[in-house]
């Protein structure tokens, strides 16, 4: 039943995009977290998407293979009064780029919206199919 696979595909995409939205929210919330749970400054997180076959070669879903730390250089802020400052008076701040995170968030929410719409279309088509002959 091919049309039911649309639900699986769109569902996997919804899951992946909501995970991306989660990491974006985490990055934005921690844009100024000087110390994380490991004692180090917070590092921006990024999700890695990969296509994954769900049922045959035609239905390709999305899967988040891993969540990686951003490789961007950490932000250094001069603040000698801070207890986290080093010998030169610089504080290492998270490498979160707020502008990048905003665009990432908009892209993720639009993609989520599209996939949810796709599910709605598939649902109405299936309902029409079930009503054949009535």
């Amino acid at each position: 039943m091919s049309m039911l696979n649309v639900f699986h595909v769109a569902g996997s995409a919804l899951h992946a995009q909501s995970l991306r939205l989660n990491t974006t929210a985490s990055n934005m919330a921690n844009a100024d977290s000087v110390v994380g749970s490991d004692g180090q400054p917070y590092k921006a997180k990024q999700v890695v998407f990969a296509a994954t076959p769900l049922a045959g070669p035609a239905a390709q879903g999305v899967r988040v293979t891993q969540v990686v730390d951003s490789a961007a250089p950490m932000r250094l802020v001069y603040d000698p009064k801070s207890p986290a400052a080093n010998a030169e008076g610089y504080v290492t701040m998270p490498n979160v780029n707020v502008v990048e995170e905003m665009t990432n968030m908009i892209s993720a929410s639009r993609a989520y919206q599209t996939n949810a719409e796709m599910m709605g279309t598939a649902k109405s088509l299936l309902e029409k199919t079930l009503a054949i002959g009535q």
Binding site: M3, A51, T114
Partner: protein
Amino acid sequence: MTNRLDNALSFHQAALNARAYRQQVVASNIANADTPNFKARDVDFRAALNAALGGKATDTLPLVTTAARHISGASGNPLDASLKYRQEEQGAVDGNTVNMDTERAAFAENAVQYQASVTFINGLLRSMQIAVQGQ
């Protein structure tokens, strides 16, 4: 008699199958709009319809098997042979070739075509009912 009823509906059934298959392919494209190195695909509809009608799939090249337990290499679904990669319109740095506008348009178009097939089937069934009742 039932055979004839079957024949009348079989074409639209095949068309419905091919449309549902394409819907699934386009859904995969839209779902993978942000996946690096994903290549968008679509269905060669003529080949898909032929395959759904039970004709020979045009592009299959099965492996030669010399023992009963060899795998033929052909996939279970005859429609899979009609899958083609889309021509790249505008390349992306991450190797993704999904063009969201094209895919959304294809998705909407295919949905309407699917509904058209459903309407045809409903119409056929209605005329059959009228013929059977004879009123």
